[in-house]
Symmetry: C2
């Protein structure tokens, strides 16, 4: 079995590639070839029986999608995107990478009439926009309030239509916010949900810009990887009502995050959190979805993290943090 | 004020052009220039004080959208599309006309930084797909089950995003099925909803392929024209939750259609209806939306037809049918 990961240099892409390289079985079949692509050449996982090919490529450039399919991958994970903030400030680049890139891929697949791979596409809860009920049902409409969310929603519609026509076998996964993100703090408005765990566990200060009762929809990187792998082996024959699935995250409050930090890291870690209210961040976060009824995903076998404590413990384990 | 109608040769486009030509006032301002465009040169309305320009143009062709905007129309009605059946059989043509055409128009508008026209886009209830509740709320998700519906849903998302960014001031109108369509019978699966009124009123036989309790969401051509004119004068500042509006139709059963035909045309007309059950048409119609809660449109001032009787009487009046 051949597997192609587009966006293999990103945080989830790297973890997905590492997982497949070390456990090269998908849907009961051996993964022999692993093709890892990103705009910068991604690193190759070590210690794997797979033949690994890494390369830099931009799927939004003419002809690149068709070239990447020359090896006819059985399963394609498409995670390449520019993030919400950049898609908002650079309108043309956002549409080129996040919409044209996906469309190029779908078209290259359609052009080959005898080829119908599984395509797992990374969508986002950014397809939803306020006013939002709590919890948000699977049948709630999409009114994205960013260009990024709009591009993801359009790709979902394309994926469903190309799948309905039998050109591809697609699934779009609406990922929760990934917490705890490893690495350095970034400037994403949602960054503090990871920061208030990650920085104190590293003995560093973290800023908390919102109130303790702020609720957010989260999943661990480990859960995110498991969602992609589960989607790859899912029988899509029963997916009536479109190919996009809102995944089961956990609705976690800042207060619960702090309780778990205290439980795992002790009171000294809590003292590293500086409360600096930020009305702009509060306003952005207030417009985000907080809680979903993810019944459809659960019935399709997608499993959420066990608890926020399990999320933090998986971070400590996966990143080799010493407490 | 300059007005551009793209798709001015279609049934609604013609009626809209005729209405504007005879009552050339929009939003309290005089319409001086009326630019009528379709893939075939549309006919020019007679007896109008407007300067009328008619021409054949395909907005999906490179450069054509920008050329059509040279006169900087204040209001653009975009009704051009290929219909559901053709978009389903000719996948590439459907995406080219129904998606690329609209995208070309939006891009041509965006490229001119000092220009922000009102753009009223003809969408469709084909953006919805089974399983559907009854009535369908304004917040129900879009799971189109045709490429046509997919293309309309994508254009709605683009229109909302381009409007949010301030490039255009857009509104997408999800039109009900238009009944009574004037003219000859066509092969659309929904054609019989018009046919069972139109043909008997013309003394001709009509085939009824579904059961009497079949419910459908309808509006008259006259209501459709009024929706476009109302949208042109609407203040969009309060349109939170996207720029697409499900318009208020009437949920009418076949039984009610027959009652009104009997009331207006007498028992002899009813006898012209031949019941020939068609399982394929029944299946297609069963997957269509039947009834909406169109609260949002009503609160924005869109007004439905008074009754199905009023729909039939407006058809008789507008088309000069003698009973």
């Amino acid at each position: 079995m051949n597997v192609l990961i587009i966006g293999a240099g990103g945080m989830i892409g790297r973890k997905l590639a590492t997982k497949l390289a070390s456990s090269p079985v998908l849907n009961g079949q051996e993964v022999r070839h692993l093709h890892l692509v990103d705009v910068f050449e991604p690193s190759a996982p070590l210690d794997t029986p797979c033949r690994v090919l890494t390369e830099a490529a931009d799927v939004s450039a003419p002809g690149e999608a068709a070239r990447l399919l020359a090896n006819r991958p059985d399963i394609i994970f498409h995670l390449a995107a520019i993030v919400s903030g950049e898609a908002e400030t650079d309108f043309e680049k956002g549409y080129r990478i996040n919409l044209d890139g996906t469309l190029n891929l779908l078209e290259a697949i359609r052009q080959d009439a005898s080829y119908c791979p599984k395509l797992i596409f990374a969508s986002s809860i950014a397809v939803f926009g306020a006013p939002l009920p709590a919890p948000i049902p699977d049948t709630f409409h999409l009114t994205p309030q960013t260009s990024y969310g709009t591009q993801k929603a359009i790709c979902e519609l394309l994926l469903s239509d190309y799948s309905r026509k039998g050109f591809v076998d697609g699934i779009a996964l609406r990922l929760p916010t990934i917490v705890v993100r490893p690495g350095k703090p970034n400037k994403a408005a949602s960054g503090f949900f990871s920061g208030i765990i990650r920085e104190p566990l590293n003995g560093q200060e973290a800023v908390l810009p919102v109130a303790d009762d702020t609720l957010h929809w989260m999943a661990s990187p480990r859960a995110a990887v498991s969602f992609f792998l589960h989607a790859a082996s899912l029988d899509t024959a029963d997916m009536t009502g479109g190919r996009a699935v809102t995944l089961p995250g956990l609705a976690v409050s800042v207060a619960e995050e702090l309780d778990i930090l205290r439980k795992i890291g002790g009171e000294a870690r809590i003292k590293l959190i500086k409360r600096v209210a930020d009305p702009l961040v509060e306003q952005i976060v207030a417009a985000w979805p907080r809680q979903f009824d993810a019944s459809r995903a659960l019935s399709l076998g997608f499993a959420p993290d066990e608890s926020f404590e399990a999320i933090v413990r998986s971070y400590i384990e996966d990143e080799g943090i010493s407490i």
